[in-house]
């Protein structure tokens, strides 16, 4: 080996390679900017157009006896509907999702049933929301003969929530250290009490985060409730009888009207919905950040 090659062992990067590196860097930064543009645009327009009608009347009145062209009116009936339907959906989806995850992590030993459940949870994640709505329409309304109701919508939404809850809970349960379980077993605590008193409380914040993200997702779903809840302009606080309203439906129905007053109401509805969804998202992130030691760190 001559001294010449030793000196040139570390060569400066050639111009071509340097340029290529720079070009890619610029492209990658650009990609991020391009991705953020629609988000900024959507949020800006929702806030700007939504504030026009985002007032007390909007939050406390329904659309009863208010024509498309009339000013005023509000989304109270839709807000009530959204809250009730999402609550009912959570009441159905969270226990099933939670227990399924407990089965997968704590009880199954990788058997055929567990693999089948695991696979179909993945499949369920991919079910289009409109298909979930069609299923409840076919099953609950057409075959069993029940009427359109908030509860029917809640069932459709719960189908969309379940896989998210299962996966979030499963991930959290797997993060619970084995030592905790073994310590409980060593003290003679039965397995089910170990799960209820030790494993689940340890994973609780992570599970709550997952549930809230699932809630935020379904609160904005339109297609399934369109097929199962239908429309109403009046306040219907009973989710088990008669058509209800919810915020996505409210936006959908108002924006299809040609009148500016209705379009304004749609934007105000969008602002309300985004506030609810973003708040849930933010809360979920805050909880998981606050209890980060349990998570990956």
């Amino acid at each position: 080996m001559t001294t010449a090659t030793l000196k040139t062992g570390i060569q400066p990067i050639s111009t071509g390679r340097r340029v290529k590196d720079r070009v890619v860097q610029v492209l990658v930064y650009l990609a991020f900017l391009v991705a953020v543009v629609p988000l900024v645009s959507v949020l800006y327009l929702v806030i700007k157009n939504g504030l026009a009608r985002f007032d007390m009347e909007f939050l406390t009145h329904s659309m009863r006896n208010i024509g498309p062209n009339d000013a005023g009116g509000g989304a109270y009936h839709a807000i009530v509907g959204t809250l009730e339907q999402v609550l009912l959906a959570s009441l159905i989806a969270v226990p099933i999702g939670l227990l399924t995850a407990v089965y997968l992590v704590e009880y199954s030993r990788g058997g055929r049933l567990a693999r089948a459940i695991s696979f179909f949870v993945d499949v369920m994640t991919g079910i289009p929301s409109v298909v979930a709505g069609l299923f409840i329409l076919a099953f609950w309304i057409l075959v069993l003969g029940f009427e359109f109701s908030g509860f029917a919508g809640a069932m459709a939404l719960s189908i969309l929530m379940m896989p998210t809850v299962v996966r979030a809970t499963e991930e959290m349960l797997r993060l619970v250290p084995m030592d905790l379980r073994e310590a409980a077993f060593a003290l003679g605590v039965p397995k089910w009490r170990t799960i209820v008193k030790v494993v689940l409380p340890t994973a609780l914040t992570g599970i709550v985060t997952g549930v809230m993200l699932a809630v935020a997702r379904v609160a904005g779903e339109t297609a399934p409730v369109l097929l199962t809840v239908f429309f109403t302009d009046s306040i219907n606080t009973d989710p088990f009888h008669g058509p209800q309203m919810d915020l996505p439906l409210f936006i959908f129905s108002q924006m299809q009207l040609p009148n500016q007053t209705a379009i304004d109401r749609a934007w105000a509805g969008a602002l309300t919905l985004i506030l609810i969804v973003m708040l849930l998202n933010l809360l979920a992130r805050l909880i998981s950040w606050w209890r980060s030691p349990v998570r990956k760190g």
Partner: protein, 326 residues
């Protein structure tokens, strides 16, 4: 994991009889197994009830469901076919995928390898927020803002690139297949970006450092160490995005011009999709009309099932991706 605990052969202390059997144990085990079975039953019920309600409508159909080009199930002579809707669903989702995937890969690389460490997770959260915006809000935004905005660039493409059949056609409008695909692209971008990001982050550090040690620039390192490792993950992420785009309903229902013809001219007022047709047609559907919509939903279910299963299989084949798949 859990099963490690109870090796029956593992020493006298760990024998099953050593555990005091509690009265609560069997019921709890039963209930949690039951929850899993309920989940399976729901999946089965979805298929069974969709088929049960679709069959009578399909029997009443006087046209060929697969090849007929119109949708009039509410008429006295019900005739409807899935061809146009399936075509629109597949083509609009595919265009969305072509637009979204390169940007999503860029975003994923930005967050995994380019952004300053301290900012990376926050910026990733910003992109995730795109997924948090409800679909109906994208519909409202697309309908009132993007549709008028898309007219000048569409006219430009039509004038100067009209010789490409894709951009041809005599009338150019904002409510076109291209605009719908653009909205779909925005909606699936965060999913593709999130999964790709997870996969890129799992690229072996040793390979990355080895590439740097050989004098590679950052791009060369990514091309040699990160992208080959991440390719299957990115492909399955794109397919999951494709599945999502196909099932997307409200946003495209508001943007698609409701037409029933097959055309590749994505700037012209052509286009419809299975999901959009369900949302738009449900209001005035009679019994056979509803059955017809359910039949179309069944087709959508099968298509998305196929796409998603393929994506899952690709992810499942590689154990390294276990976390990204969640």
């Amino acid at each position: 994991m859990a099963q490690d605990l109870k090796k029956p052969e593992g020493g006298p202390a760990m024998r099953r009889s050593a555990f005091r059997r509690s009265r609560g144990d069997t019921p709890f085990r039963f209930v949690s197994t039951g929850a899993g079975i309920v989940l399976l039953a729901i999946m089965a019920a979805i298929a069974v009830f969709l088929i049960a309600k679709a069959v009578p409508a399909l029997q009443a159909n006087k046209a060929n469901f697969l090849t007929y080009f119109d949708w009039t199930p509410n008429a006295t002579v019900p005739m409807f076919g899935i061809a146009v809707l399936a075509f629109g669903t597949v083509v609009s989702s595919f265009i969305a995928l072509v637009i979204a995937t390169p940007i999503a890969i860029g975003v994923a690389l930005f967050i995994s390898h380019y952004a300053p460490r301290r900012l990376a997770s926050t910026l990733g959260y910003v992109v995730d927020l795109l997924a948090a915006v409800p679909s109906v809000v994208y519909g409202l935004w697309g309908f009132t803002f993007l549709v008028p905005l898309m007219v000048p660039p569409s006219k430009f493409l039509n004038t100067y690139f009209g010789w490409i059949p894709l951009f041809g056609g005599d009338s150019v409008v904002g409510r076109s297949m291209l605009t719908a695909s653009l909205v779909l692209a925005i909606m699936i971008l965060p999913i593709i970006a999130a999964i790709s990001r997870e996969v890129f982050l799992q690229a072996p550090k040793t390979l990355e450092e080895a590439a740097y040690a050989l004098g590679a620039t950052r791009w060369e390192m990514i091309r040699m160490a990160v992208l080959p490792f991440g390719r299957p993950g990115v492909i399955s992420a794109a397919m999951l995005g494709l599945g999502r785009a196909m099932g997307e309903t409200i946003a495209v229902a508001l943007i698609f011009p409701i037409t029933f013809n097959i055309s590749f001219q994505i700037l012209s007022p052509n286009g419809n999709s299975i999901a959009a047709n369900i949302a738009n047609g449900f209001g005035e559907a009679n019994a056979i009309g509803r059955g017809a919509l359910i039949a179309s939903g069944l087709v959508l279910f099968l298509i998305t099932l196929l796409v998603n299963s393929m994506a899952r299989l690709i992810i499942a084949r590689r154990k390294e991706y276990a976390r990204a798949a969640a």
